[in-house]
Amino acid sequence: MRRYLVRKLITYVLAFFVGVTIDWGIPHLMPGDPIQGLLSKFDLDSASYAALYKSFAQSFGLNVPLWQQYLDFWKGVLTGNMGISISDAPAKVTTLVFGAMPYTLALLVPAVVLSYVVGNRLGAAAARRKLLDNTVLPLGYIFQAIPYPWLALVVPYLLGVVWHVFPTAGAYSETLLPAWNWTFIASLLDHWFLPFLTVFLVSLGGWAIGMRNLVIYELENDASRYLRALGASERVVRRYAYRSASLPQLSGLALQLGVVIGGNIVTEIAFDYPGLGHLIFSAITSQDYFLLQGIFIFIVLAVLVANFVIDLVFITVDPRTRLSMQGAAA
């Protein structure tokens, strides 16, 4: 088991290394450099252009050899100093990121956890039950097939524009200032609901169908037959089937995290929700490369942390992992 954990840890460290390297490398590989982009906005004669270019290159640390720029970048990452936002000038990149992060987390964590739990329960309940299966299965396929952007248009159209139940954009009412009072919190929840609902719905079908198939498979294996032969009730057999089927689903969740966390950009754009995805987009439109790089690092980190959390859950859920760990410690 120690070997398993060490391998996991190496994967995380390497993934972080690759993430940081890509983050650093992309601006260097891409045609045009940020300074040129910045200066092209001004009408400059060539002498002042050269002077400004040199001064910018110096203040951004781009006048040193490439390997040193790379090391400097790492130093910044490790000390949590991601520089200063170009578009929001005096603000530090980290300040902006931490300001946006709560919105993203508040959306993603409940939506991912709830759709996982509800989807799995639905799928398990539907397995080998004619009536329920006939509704869960087709609905599951449809939900699995819905392109997320469409869900993010149709749901607010129906619930927001046609029936006026929920607001369709923003994180809180424009007439309010952020404060910890009930009006503001109510407004936050009101605005949170629709984006949450769409993220919740979009992965529901996949979990339900996956769980249904796994439970059917489990209900027919030898362990289940043995349990039935021992006289266990169908309820007990199902409970055990559900537990075994949870393991592949859990590793499936770990595999999806990168997609889900990245996909949140679409949610935040569609609902004008001021989280990290929204921030990354405004960084692009204002060509704020430092902000862009900073957010990328944070998203990579978030995916790694979430993966680690699932690893820990695995240890508590799977008795085999737990047992072999005790074995390794003894």
């Binding site: 159209y157 889900v260 950009i265 995916v303 993966n307």
Partner: protein, 301 residues
């Protein structure tokens, strides 16, 4: 957000070489499987629409028809948008592009995933360790964010770029599946026989191992095809799709930018998503049907 395919649950690994399988068997069970017939039928209809649609459409996808915001009707079958585009013309062209991107994404993911999966499963050892590590890392990198960052530096992007980018971020799904199957097949007697007969590894993989997982691979590729189309829709919706073309995602992007929601211009954003849902759902249903045809164990139910 478009979830990637859950790797299909493998219930059986083929026990014997399948060279002897009768082709007629496949059609016998295939035509009697309602899911397969329904899914395939719907998909064929949509493919036909993608082929014929642009020919019967009265306008080019980006042509200005002179009439803005027309409701669906006789002249403009699905209405027009604020920019005066004919929605039907845009839709059928977007359909075509979706299939194109889906095929590109599935093809490039299959090529990379199969090459690495076979290599890792066949050789094992260090190579396997390294490839698995690479796979795990790629899976963890948030590809959408990566595309956002890359896309922000590229001023023009082609359909080819989008398809290949999708393939290059989704191949781990194929690689994992192929590796696991190769692993379990390579110690079978018929593979041992092939080795003894002096065949070279590449030809063993191509002629002895691959055919035995062909049906399974086919299912994975179908799922990839669908998820590539969904991913592309998300990219296009963010305005990161191919430049200078119309796609289902870019139609939704325009509708969003022009606040079609607030003005109740439902004919603008409902059709592209509904059609894409049908395209992917048909694939999923056909996929389950095929699974039942390939897997006698699932058949009786």
């Amino acid at each position: 957000m478009s979830a990637l395919p859950d790797t299909p649950t493998v219930t059986t690994v083929p026990v014997a070489p399948v060279t002897a399988r009768k082709r007629s068997d496949f059609f016998y069970y295939g035509l009697r499987n309602k899911k397969l017939v329904f899914g395939l039928g719907l998909e064929l209809l949509l493919v036909l629409l993608a082929i014929i649609g642009p020919m019967v459409a009265k306008y080019g996808p980006e042509a200005f028809t002179g009439a803005q915001l027309q409701h669906p009707g006789h002249t403009y079958w699905l209405g027009t948008d604020t920019l005066g585009h004919d929605i039907f013309s845009e839709l059928v062209n977007g359909l075509r592009e979706s299939y194109f991107v889906g095929a590109l994404g599935a093809a490039s993911a299959s090529v990379v995933g199969m090459a690495l999966g076979f290599a890792a499963g066949w050789r094992g050892g260090i190579l396997d360790e390294v490839l698995q590590m690479v796979t795990n890392i790629i899976v963890m990198l948030p590809s959408l964010v990566l595309l956002v960052v890359i896309g922000s530096y590229l001023t023009s992007r082609s359909v080819l770029f989008e398809g290949v980018f999708i393939g290059l971020t989704t191949w781990p799904w194929v690689a994992r599946a192929v590796r696991a199957q190769t692993f379990s097949l390579r110690s079978r007697e018929f593979v041992e026989m092939a080795k003894l007969s002096g065949k070279r590894p590449v030809s063993i993989i191509v002629f002895d191992i691959a055919p035995n997982m062909a049906s399974y691979l086919f299912l994975v590729i179908i799922l990839l095809f669908g998820s590539s189309m969904l991913l592309a829709a998300s990219y296009d919706f963010l305005g990161l799709g191919p430049t200078g073309t119309v796609s289902l995602g870019s139609m939704m992007n325009q509708a969003q930018n022009e606040a079609a929601l607030l003005y109740h211009e439902w004919w603008w954003f409902i059709p592209p998503g509904a059609v894409l849902t049908a395209m992917v759902a048909a694939l999923l249903v056909a996929n389950v049907g095929l699974d039942e045809v390939f897997n006698p164990k699932l058949r009786e139910q």
